[in-house]
């Protein structure tokens, strides 16, 4: 413990690097959480458990088209609630005032199990219009009118709801009929993107899929159909894993150098009767203290930074569990990094204390 006390400068340097890695990891973890939210919070928030897509669509709504046959087959299945769902990415242009909006336009029937709140139900069953994600509140007002995706239909903003976003754009709900009119014009023929399902009992999904001509995915596995979702999560995971590995390597390298520099002292300890266990505990203990301390400081600083950077256009979402998990992983892997030098410690011969080569 004593080396640490009197040589804190030397430990400070490796601590600084560990701390910086912790800062970066914390911010990235917040960014990763934010990106995920931005990508799928709208889907995650819906009270459905599964989604039936057109086979071969790979859980991508915009590649999937189903019709009444699929819906009826699912509706006929006992224990299953089913609702048609239309999803399209559109650009909405204001006819009066307000900004142009990129929207994920979700069409659902007013009586769908997806629509829980009575006022939302009322809004969707009345005249055609848009219920927008609350994140647009402030930019847009109730009553503003938009034309969507080149159609002639003018849609007023009916209200706001906590619908979240999908594929990094805010969600706008509309009735399925309006969605079909916008998407297919006069030629909708009852088509939509996917069937939203809710069941918790056992359902033979593959049998129903065969009858319905669909491919069913669980909710979580349908996240990957969100534009960019897989690539983003993979990239983030990769960057964060690299940071963890880098942290471990830095700690390992430092510990190795420190051990080599202390070879004579380690020999001296052994000459005084210290066991390998004692010396390893002493060394790793000091290192662990440094790593844990700087990881905590770095994580706190990273959280602060993420708090400052968040809120704007950057999709940062800071969570306590995310920050703590990241910190713990960094600290544990960092300390494990010191394992590379353990052999060096145990191999030191006590005779080096006399200045004789072993």
């Amino acid at each position: 413990m004593r080396d640490l006390r009197r040589n804190w400068r030397r430990f400070g340097l490796v601590g600084l690097v560990v701390g910086l890695v912790a800062v970066l990891s914390t911010v990235l973890s917040a960014l990763a959480t934010g990106l995920v939210s931005d990508g799928i919070s709208g889907l995650r928030g819906l009270p459905l458990t599964h989604l039936a897509f057109e086979p071969g669509s790979g859980a991508v709504f915009t590649r999937s088209t189903l019709d009444a046959r699929a819906l009826e087959a699912w509706r006929a299945t006992p224990g299953v609630e089913a609702s048609p769902l239309g999803v399209a990415f559109v650009n909405a242009a204001p006819t009066t005032t307000g900004p142009r909006l990129d929207l994920a336009l979700w069409g659902v029937p007013a009586d769908s199990f997806l629509v829980a709140r009575p006022e939302a139900r009322a809004a969707l069953s009345g005249r055609p219009g848009l219920v927008l994600s609350d994140e647009l509140e402030g930019q847009v007002e109730v009553g503003d009118r938009f034309t969507v995706a080149g159609s002639d239909l003018e849609l007023p903003v009916l209200g706001f709801t906590y619908s979240g976003s999908y594929g990094h754009v805010p969600i706008a709900f509309t009735s399925l009929a309006t969605w079909q009119e916008l998407h297919y014009g006069d030629d909708a023929r009852g088509r939509f993107s996917a069937v939203a399902l809710r069941f918790d009992g056992p359902v033979d999904t593959s049998a129903v899929d065969r009858a319905a001509g669909t491919a069913t995915r669980s909710k979580a596995s349908a996240y990957s159909g969100s534009p960019g979702f897989s690539a983003e999560t993979a990239t983030m995971t990769m960057i964060r894993s690299f940071l963890v590995v880098i942290s471990a390597l830095i700690v390992g390298a430092f510990f190795t150098i420190w051990t080599v520099q202390r070879t004579r002292q380690i020999g001296l300890m052994k000459a005084l009767g210290a066991s390998n266990g004692y010396i390893v505990r002493d060394g790793v203990g000091q290192l662990a203290l440094v790593v844990v301390f700087f990881t905590v400081v770095g994580s706190a600083a990273g959280a602060l930074l993420a708090g400052v950077a968040g809120g704007g256009d950057v999709p940062i979402e800071l969570t306590l569990t995310g920050t703590v998990t990241t910190g713990v992983i960094l600290a544990v892997v960092g300390v494990l990094g010191s394992a590379v030098a353990l052999r060096r410690i145990t191999r030191v011969e006590p005779i080096v204390a006399l200045g004789v080569e072993p």
Binding site: R264, L268, M269, E349, P350, I351, L354
Partner: protein
Amino acid sequence: MSLELRGVTVTVPDGDGIRTLLDAVDLAVAPGEVVALTGASGSGKSTLLAVAGLLRRPEAGEVVLAGTPTSGLGGRARTKLRGRTVGVVYQSANLFPSLTAIEQLEVVAHVQGRLDADARRRARGLLADLGLAERAGRLPHHLSGGERQRVGLARALMAEPRVLLADEPTASLDPRLADDVADLLAGQARDRDLATLVVTHDEAPLRHADRRIELDGGALRAVTAAGSTAR
């Protein structure tokens, strides 16, 4: 005998071949006896000391420490026996750079899992015995050469060993200080009944020794007759 070497042979790699550094060496040091070991540079004095202090295993032969034959002991048992029966004083003290004088002593007890109030008291007492009471809180680089060497001696005595080994303990001191340290070392050894082996080139330790042996060509030879035999 507190320290006995019987037929100790040490060989070291030397270029393509091997070199016999110690050739079936016998040596016995009685409690309270101070033996000075001389020899040319590279003759193997430090190596002999290391073998005697269980810091190195010989290629052949037996080392008996405080009555315990050690050739059959495993690594852990050797470490433990070494910690409890051997004190070593090094050339230029070899103190831990980041520990104060008192901590140099306390670490000995800590290493052996016996750092209690009693050990702390003993550490203070030892420093005081060697005239270092005022220096207890100082780091090595704030101590003079003579003080460092005395701290090194105190540390070697901390575990209450039966055998005291010193490798050129006065080589880095001027002659007057060397004599003080050598006097102190021999005095402590006799007071505490330690079997003591001092490797040296200097006059001072030789003056304070009971007998003197020389290592030459892998064999030990008595230099002053005074009751000792060459082995």
